[in-house]
Symmetry: C2
Subunit: 198 residues, 2 copies
């Protein structure tokens, strides 16, 4: 029964129904800025390939990685209803993004139920991810958190990225990884690559 529900709104690119002129495809190279925190949102983006980092700059000037979006992810959905991007988006690798005009999306949302459903579903997933991320950050000590994060599959990009995601300094993360390897809890499969055992 549940599986039926899950299929109500097809996941694969629900943005086909948008008018062509509302959709723009753009390629970005690593480190290139897609949009800046504070800018007036013109569009939201669908990651067609590659990955981008969503980060925020605190008042103190430190940067916080909020999310690393990969292929298939939707970003800046929250900007649909806000008058400024709440974070900065930077390409983490060469990436292809599909820009979706904000107005067009709002219009489509009001007329195409399937589209709206897909949007809700995407956002629900994101909420769950954030929840898990918050949960991870309460795990102490670092070794346990790293193991939990690793088991969850958060280590996809670099270890530094992983460290940011789970809220540790990269040094602490490396140390925890070393410890876990020494304890036989995880295995090192390459430079900056690890897998959880058991």
């Amino acid at each position: 029964m549940i599986s039926i529900i899950m299929k109500n709104f097809p996941t694969p690119t629900p943005f086909d129904c948008l008018p062509p002129q509302a959709v723009g495809q753009t390629t970005f190279s690593r480190k290139q800025v897609v949009f800046h925190q504070g800018m007036i949102p013109q569009a939201l983006f669908h990651v067609a390939s590659g990955a981008v980092i969503l980060e925020r700059h605190t008042e103190a000037g430190q940067k916080v990685v909020l999310h690393r979006a990969g292929t298939g992810d939707l970003i800046a959905e929250a900007s649909l209803f806000s008058s400024a991007y709440h974070c900065t988006c930077i390409a983490d690798s060469d990436a292809t993004l599909i820009a979706l005009n904000k107005q067009a999306v709002l219009r489509m949302m009001a007329t195409n139920p399937e589209f709206a459903g897909a949007l809700v579903k995407k956002m629900a997933r994101q909420v769950q991810r954030y929840r898990r991320q918050l949960e991870l950050r309460t795990i102490l000590p670092a070794v346990d958190r790293v193991l939990a994060g690793l088991s969850d599959g958060w280590l996809q990009g670099s270890v530094m990225q992983f460290a940011s995601d789970i809220g540790l300094s990269h040094e602490a993360t490396y140390r925890a990884l070393s410890t876990l390897v020494a304890n036989g809890k995880i295995q090192k499969t390459g430079r900056g690559k690890y897998v959880a055992l058991s």
Copy 2:
């Protein structure tokens, strides 16, 4: 222009349009469990009055407060697409919740654009809140984090609640508050009540 967009989907209880039989009103007393993590989701809830705590229990058994939802908030929306509640919901005070049948909501979402829009908007807000919460937790040291959280208006309930929200032990939070008062950064306005000074 933005204001117009914001008004596209009226915030006040967009659930009126649901069929009456899909809506159930229930009252809960403090500490009463609304639903348990792991249960199969039958409904999502709209907080009509009072407040509830959404918490999660990690593998290690520690609890993490994910969110404190107050009057007007929608909870368990993420469960719309998942086969189990991802957190436990407990009334934080006497509260009145409106239960919205999951199936009915899914159906309504597919047929009523306005409803779907309201849902998307609610979730967008939630996403932003989580993002901010994650951002807060990267702020070090504790004094800075507490000040930031206070300025953001996170201290609404008890200090212990606030401490949970920003990811500190309550002791550390109290100490930070004391320090901030001593520094003249904030002002104490009563037992467990503080306000940030410009």
